[in-house]
Point group: C2
Chain length 194, copies 2
């Protein structure tokens, strides 16, 4: 096989960078969530990925640090789920692997759907201190995604690591995007067991 490349790059859809510009800071969880759900819907309509979006905000001010969407199929990488994209972008922008480090504002991850097992595991490492989720994991499961095995007590475990968790914010709006994805024939990208 040819020499291993010395870097990995992934690119965001052009519309996403423009869309992120439209955010006006808000202290309300519902407003942050609606903006994130709007990105998930746009991702479906633009056919740039799965029906999921996530953003990192400064918890107090509502300033948005990074907005990610699911890029699994478009970038051919199973890692590039919305929460992972948002966390990688936020850490790149702030030049820190710990968004909870002293001396910077506390950060909040707002995700249009409860994180899968991978993204759940990524959250404590990332340093965010707040997690706000829209649709339930079962809602993603109902359109065919295999969210993996999550600890039953994941909310309590995250809270014990200093992460406040809020679920079900604008759940119906988020579910509507999942349904739209299924109705428009979106790819359910679980690994195919042969």
């Amino acid at each position: 096989m040819s020499r291993q490349p010395d870097r990995v790059t992934f690119t965001l859809p052009e519309w996403l960078v423009e869309y992120a510009e439209c955010w006006r800071p808000s202290g309300l969880a519902e407003e942050r969530m609606r903006f994130v759900i709007g990105a998930s819907e746009r991702n479906v309509r633009e056919k740039t990925g799965g029906p999921f979006a996530a953003a990192v905000f400064e918890h107090e001010s509502g300033a948005m640090v990074a907005l990610g969407v699911n890029l699994v199929v478009s970038q051919q990488s199973s890692v590039l789920q919305a929460e992972m994209v948002a966390l990688m972008l936020a850490q790149q922008r702030l030049h820190t692997y710990d968004l909870g480090v002293a001396g910077i504002p506390s950060h909040e991850l707002v995700t249009s759907c409860e994180p899968c097992a991978m993204c759940l595991g990524a959250i404590p490492w990332s340093g965010v201190r707040y997690l706000v989720a829209g649709a339930a994991g079962a809602d993603a499961g109902s359109i065919g995604f295999d969210e993996g095995v999550k600890p039953e007590n994941w909310i309590r475990e995250h809270e014990s690591r200093g992460i406040r968790v809020q679920t079900g914010v604008c759940r119906e709006d988020a579910r509507a995007v999942l349904r739209l994805y299924r109705q428009t024939g979106g790819c359910i990208y679980n690994s195919k067991k042969s």
Copy 2:
């Protein structure tokens, strides 16, 4: 805040690309593991990251598709643990988000230490059909890393998703690298609770 960038890039250490060139395909799990552990040790000595490495091999032939090391501190990204780097590299090289897709060889992830909760969650999405681990999660915990909450029955759950799991391969060699990291003052990069 300035405009959100339109891409994320991370770079591998120069030594890693050279080291990967030295692999000669082997059918033995122990030989694959020793090569991976060698990369983890080199990562510590070169001070390019944490004491962990992982590689994706073609399971049958032993050809190596991608070799990753932990880059959390050097690239300032909590996502860039060794398994994630190896999976992203492998999928980028093969242009697929599913390393288990029909028509290509079955793939195996060999990791110098049992995956943390994030990396465990990433494995079913990735399409690898075999997981081989060296040191135990408790070994990483013993030098201070918080591996997160893993389902108690994670091996059975992965097997039920068609992933064969083998643990404890060359465990003592892998543990020695963890000890070396601690002895040389390596950064334990858990998020700091303030």
